[in-house]
């Protein structure tokens, strides 16, 4: 097939550009660095051409044409800078503003508002509109997360299209007509979607705002730090926006391979859990039944002394919300210093793992022809943004089967399927493998699986050997395997070190385990915020929250990504530093000065991570 037929050459403002057939004029211009103003157009949604901002001249077409909706044609001559276009741009902005309240000084969006920016760039200096504006309800609660200002809304349809095209929930709709049109939910019932935060990001004005972020900051006062969402194992890229060293919000940071630019509300609005809204106390030691504040060195010495007494009967639990670097040191502390094999990051379940669990990268879901979601909603609940990828795939023709049973999954996929994906949570990993094996014998194509693990670094915890039976890089421990977390109350454990790194993935002691905790000689709790475990602790080592750390985490698909400290907590020791100090107090002699230096050693132990370091944490585990 001749390649030439798939390409189209056109001229935009006198410059030639060649783009694939079907490209929109807007995108062809963008390729040349020519900015055509838009409101309704969104790269992830079908063009609707309703705002009429992007109208430009196309030779041989009498009317101005919407650049966002017209595909290029061979020999097309596009002009975006003519007087006709400029005059019209002023006109349409004047129209958009006649019923817009222009309350920019008190609007959350002011400073990062496309309407404001484009009015400055393309709009008229003043309005000739001298009538009463049409009035609408302000501060309408769409849900407990979102507040809608109907006066600011310019009816671009992005939010309604998001609920239709991106999430498929069709929760927002246009109500009434003409200038009286408003956005709302059916019967004004609270919106239920778990993707509502995205509405605020795609809204080109300050109509849809996050309740949590209302009146918190002006955009230009925010410090922005790229990081990864601490919510689940999906690994969505975020930006930590903070002001005065407090988190204002989490914003999406588009990674087409992972999140496709979206976040779920569970992750986006999780930041209050990580907010250092007060001081959480200094290190402390229990003396005569009472916790007493001490310095870090004192607490570290006490912890080390107690651990040393327990030796190989000490057990260590680290949260899958900790970084790879911390987890690596944690397992060195236990395996090398204490010679104890009792390590775990899991709660009750005992889930095996192997590298096949990341056989299907998230973005490859779109390239499957059949995807079986074993467990249906339970998988989505574990990694909500996955639903958006599945919905997108479905729109593009991928058959997505949400099933509860292996049998149903097997029946759903026809024998002629060529690329099949299986998704399941870690709790149903065994079923997923059964289904995968059965599918392999049924279909002619390839079958791959992706296991949704728990916690932003649940995959890293497995890779680095925070498991009783496998060392870093899934090294088999010949005869030296420890006992899993669920068995510890009956395993003769004397000392317990709980590294409760994240309020979202806690140790989670059961009612029955509390007596056991109380009976232990030593309980060491390293955590960010005061927790229920403090009551049982002999030593408390306050650490940092996820947004206060530097390091890497590994998402459920094996993607090693960097997190950075968006919040300065210099007065609190880094968690890796605490772990190193405890180990060194027992003579371990660990030499690390930064988390980067830990990563270098970590990559030696888990060679797959070496590639991640080279690619700045953007490659998948195991080189694909």
């Amino acid at each position: 097939m001749a390649v030439a037929t798939d390409q189209v050459t056109l001229q935009v403002d006198g410059v030639s550009v060649t783009v694939p057939k079907g490209t929109l004029i807007l995108d062809a211009a963008k390729k040349l660095g020519i900015d055509i103003p838009i409101f309704c157009s969104h790269p992830k949604m079908e063009p609707v051409a309703v705002c009429r901002m992007c109208l430009i001249e196309v030779e041989k077409m009498p009317k101005l044409q919407p650049a966002c909706a017209i595909p290029v044609a061979e020999g097309m001559v596009v002009r975006t800078l003519t007087d006709k276009v400029k005059q019209y741009q002023q006109g349409v902005l004047e129209f958009l503003l006649i019923n817009h309240p222009l309350d920019c000084p008190i609007c959350d969006k002011g400073g990062e508002c496309p309407l404001q920016d484009q009015t400055f760039q393309y709009g008229p200096g003043a309005s000739r509109y001298d009538f009463q504006k049409a009035h609408f309800d302000k501060a309408v609660p769409l849900s407990d997360k979102i507040v809608l200002d109907r006066e600011r809304c310019i009816l671009c349809w992005r939010c309604t299209r998001f609920t239709e095209e991106i999430s498929g929930e069709r929760e927002l709709a246009l109500i009434k007509r003409g200038v009286h049109t408003i956005i709302g939910t059916f019967n004004d019932e609270p919106a239920q979607s778990v993707y509502q935060g995205n509405w605020t990001e795609i809204c080109p004005v300050g109509a849809l705002t996050s309740r949590q972020y209302r009146f918190i900051s002006r955009p230009w006062d925010l410090d922005r730090t790229p990081s990864v969402c601490p919510g689940c194992a999906m690994g969505c890229n975020i930006q930590i926006d903070s002001r005065h060293n407090k988190i204002g919000r989490f914003q999406s940071r588009e990674n087409l391979e992972v999140d496709d630019g979206w976040l779920c509300d569970q992750g986006r609005y999780s930041f209050p859990y990580f907010q250092r809204d007060q001081e959480f106390g200094s290190p402390s030691i229990r003396r005569d039944g009472q916790l007493a504040a001490v310095s870090y060195p004192e607490a570290v010495a006490e912890a080390a002394a107690r651990l040393q007494r327990a030796g190989s009967s000490a057990a260590g639990w680290a949260s899958p919300g900790a970084t790879n670097e911390e987890l690596f040191l944690f397992q060195r502390l236990f395996r090398e210093t204490l010679k104890s094999p009792h390590l775990d990051h899991r709660q009750q379940g005992i889930h095996e793992t192997d590298p096949e669990d990341i056989g299907l990268p998230i973005a490859d879901i779109e390239r499957c022809d059949h995807v079986v979601v074993l467990g249906g909603q339970e998988v989505i609940d574990a990694a909500p943004v996955l639903h958006l990828r599945l919905h997108k795939s479905q729109r593009h023709g991928v058959a997505v089967h949400r099933v509860d049973e292996v049998k149903a999954g097997l029946a759903a996929v026809p024998a002629e399927a060529t690329v099949v994906g299986v998704l399941a949570t870690a709790a149903r990993r065994a079923d997923a493998i059964t289904l995968q094996n059965q599918l392999v014998s049924k279909v002619k194509g390839r079958v791959r699986r992706l296991i949704v693990v728990r916690g932003p670094n649940g995959r890293g915890a497995k890779d680095l050997g925070i498991l009783p039976h496998l060392g870093p890089g899934y090294a088999v421990l010949n005869g030296r395997a420890g006992r899993p977390r669920a068995e510890w109350p009956k395993a003769g454990i004397r000392a317990l070190y709980i590294y409760d790194a994240s309020p979202l993935q806690e140790f989670g002691a059961t009612e029955a385990e509390l007596d056991w905790l109380r009976s232990l000689d030593t309980v060491i709790v390293q955590r960010f915020k005061p927790s229920v475990l403090d009551e049982y602790a002999h030593v408390i080592l306050p650490g940092r929250a996820f947004p206060e750390k530097d390091g890497t985490v590994t998402s459920m698909e094996g993607r090693v990504q960097r997190i950075a400290n968006g919040i300065d907590a210099a007065h609190v020791w880094d968690d890796w530093r605490i772990l190193q100090a405890v180990a060194n107090a027992m003579g371990a002699g660990l030499p690390y000065r930064t988390s980067e230096s830990i990563f270098a050693d970590l990559a030696k132990a888990v060679p797959a991570y070496a590639a991640a370091a080279l690619a700045q944490g953007r490659v998948l585990w195991g080189e694909r």
Binding site: K63, Y88, F95, L96, K176, V179, T181
Partner: protein, 428 residues
């Protein structure tokens, strides 16, 4: 001069609204002829040859529209646009009331011609008696075997679904009509793709006006050559003109294409009422540009009216006498468009709102110097920039009024009152 009656020739015949009466006038003969003697392709060619242009407003060649359907793509749908909502238009209503079977027969011929097995009629929600008449006619046609499986042994299957609109002017725009028919908000769709390629439920669709299909039986019966002898070079056949306003005998008149406007207003309509002088008239409906007495000799035909600076639209003729305030006319019309704007696109949604405000202000005597120019500039930013013709059309009448009656606008402003109101509005 008299009317040239083709569609309305048997109107008044006893029982015409019912099958028996309609068949007595030769009804359904054309349909039978088409089924028995003509192939669908031959029918399309026949309609092309007749020169029939759509009567809904745009005046697009009917046969040409049919031939845009992609070959071999089925199912394809025929949708009859009976959502007659243009202020000043009441011809479809008349046709549906007086002779619903004529419309049904035309529909069936069109369906056969384009290979459609399921046709829809989208009728304006307010047209209740007309809906009833159609419902009755469809039931009779079904009973007579004109609608159903293997019609009259021809192998042609056809069914018709009658659907009532819910009261939005925008649903007369063909893509909004399709959207509404599918059960969504009545809003126009992006074109291309045109309905012929991707219409109702994403399938190839032809949307035809009531009057257009009502003409088809006559073309089939009498042949395209006969039809082509009627009218002008580019406008064939007759049209129903809905005359209203300050005229002695308002009503529907079927006129040969190209007959002078003067005949319609004076010979048939009996001239301007109350012995007053003609100030202006507006062909086509609320959307169209105003014309003046100097245009009385313009022919009633698409191209002649366009040449005179207006559009024939859906065949309305609104007559305005010398006491008419053009500002008030503009205000009333634009208010209508503002009310009916669906709100999808910015220029129409905001522009009709603002224009209404400005026109109201002028009419109430609170206008400002420069308001007329402001309206023109707004018009510029709406016309050709809106998503669909509703926005465009909202500007045509006021802009043409400013062109011909600018003095009247200025007078409102300088005198702080409407010169045509008996009781002048005084401004403090």
């Amino acid at each position: 001069m008299a009317e040239k009656k083709i569609l309305t020739k048997d109107f008044g015949a006893p029982g015409l609204a019912h099958l028996a009466g309609y068949e007595q006038t030769g009804g359904y003969q054309a349909y039978q002829k088409a089924l028995k003697e003509l192939q669908p392709d031959a029918l399309v060619e026949m309609v092309k040859k007749s020169g029939l242009r759509g009567r809904g407003g745009a005046g697009f060649g009917t046969g040409q529209k049919w031939s845009f359907l992609p070959k071999g793509v089925y199912p394809r749908y025929l949708v009859i646009n009976a959502d007659e909502s243009e202020p000043g238009c009441f011809k479809d209503r008349y046709l549906l009331e007086a002779s619903p079977h004529q419309v049904v027969e035309g529909l069936l011929i069109a369906a056969f011609a384009i290979g459609c097995n399921l046709a829809f009629i989208y009728i304006r929600g307010e047209y209740l008696p007309q809906h009833e008449a159609l419902e009755w006619a469809l039931a009779e046609a079904r009973q007579a075997g004109y609608i159903g499986k293997n019609v009259l042994g021809s192998g042609f299957d056809v069914d018709v679904i009658l659907h009532r609109g819910a009261g939005a002017y925008i649903c007369g725009e063909e893509t909004a009509l399709l959207t509404s028919l599918e059960g969504y908000r009545g809003e126009p769709r992006l074109k291309p793709p045109f309905p012929a390629i991707k219409g109702l439920y994403g399938k190839p669709t032809v949307v035809n006006n009531v009057e257009t299909v009502a003409t088809l039986p006559h073309i089939v019966s009498n042949g395209p050559d006969w039809f082509a002898t009627i009218g002008t070079e580019t406008g064939k056949g007759t049209r129903l003109w809905c005359m209203s306003g300050h005229v002695n005998r308002p009503g529907n008149y079927e006129m040969e294409m190209g007959a002078p406007i003067r005949e319609l207003i004076y010979d048939l309509g009996g001239g301007v009422w109350k012995n007053r002088k003609l100030k202006a008239f507006q062909p086509g409906g609320a959307s169209m540009m105003v014309l003046l007495p100097q245009h009385l000799d313009v022919g009633l035909d698409f191209d002649a009216i366009q040449k005179a600076g207006s559009l024939a639209g859906a065949g309305a003729m609104v007559v305005m006498d010398e006491t008419t305030c053009m500002v008030d006319m503009c205000r009333r019309y634009v208010e209508f468009f503002h009310h009916e704007s669906c709100g999808k696109c910015t220029p129409c949604r905001e522009g009709t709102f603002w224009m209404t405000n400005v026109l109201t202000r002028i009419e109430e005597g609170e206008g400002k110097a420069g308001d007329a120019d402001l309206l023109l500039e707004m018009g510029n930013n709406i016309d050709g920039r809106s998503f669909c013709p509703l926005g465009d059309a909202s500007t045509w009448f006021p802009r043409s009024c400013i062109k011909y009656f600018r003095d009247e606008f200025e007078q409102h402003v300088t005198e702080h009152a409407c010169p045509f109101r008996k009781e002048r509005v005084m401004v403090a």
